[in-house]
Symmetry: C2
Subunit: 148 residues, 2 copies
């Protein structure tokens, strides 16, 4: 994975993986207080009484951890990772402080540009916890340059 | 907006708004180093040479700021905000340190559950910068309880 990967090098079904990465309690509380200040993310007692039945980290913190693991997984080798957006982002199960997350990715669609030296690669990423339960999924829309 | 809003109270076209919220440079660098450590988010010189032509904050930091503004916009009044996921998440323009972001939201679809005392509300959220340019959009899939 040391060299750059160009759009022509990609194939549907190409896979990547990274992790595990541990969810730290203080980091989760700090993220939630700053970006998602709702009781089931910031207050243990309130979280026990909520649908989450205990402290759950912000779904956007889960998304941030997923990005960290995408960077580590290097889906295009040394080629920078660029995203136009994401479809089908889903929070499947609560993520708890202490959970260990790992990422799997698979290229699901490749569409060359007609006008630019690049293509769009759709990659489905799934995060799993330490019990191998899927907790989060998304289909990222990456721009990948063609060979210069 | 003080009371709870139930699924029956919602109408397609209902709007909410929040902001502005200023993007702080140190916070952007800290977020990128932790969750999205790529040169165009963490290194000013490398960012100048990239497609972003200057430091751009992580797209997932933009998403986190959007969530903060969703919490402030209180789309369902005092009813907690629950999300199953997001469709059509798009990064439209780079967000820079110093930018001032504001959020607009609009209910675009309401689907009652057949089996549970709740419904799904799809809300399209758009973030604008200080020049009123849209920089980010998403359609959030919220669960909203019906009146008890």
């Amino acid at each position: 994975m040391a060299g750059k990967v160009w759009f022509e090098d990609l194939r549907v079904g190409r896979r990547c993986a990274a992790g595990p990465l541990r969810v730290e309690r203080e980091e989760a509380l700090e993220f939630a207080r700053r970006y998602d200040p709702q009781p089931y993310h910031t207050d243990e007692a309130a979280a026990q009484d909520s649908v989450f039945k205990g402290l759950a980290i912000s779904g956007w913190h889960t998304a941030a951890y997923a990005m960290r693991l995408v960077v580590e997984a290097r889906p295009f080798g040394a080629t920078p990772i660029l995203g136009l957006g994401v479809d089908e982002l889903r929070w499947l199960l609560p993520v708890r402080p202490g959970d260990e997350l790992r990422l799997e990715g698979e290229v699901v669609e490749l569409v060359p540009s007609r006008s630019k030296p690049q293509g769009v690669a759709r990659v489905r990423y799934t995060l799993f916890n330490q019990r191998s339960e899927p907790v989060y999924g998304m289909v990222a829309i990456h721009i990948v340059p063609t060979r210069p």
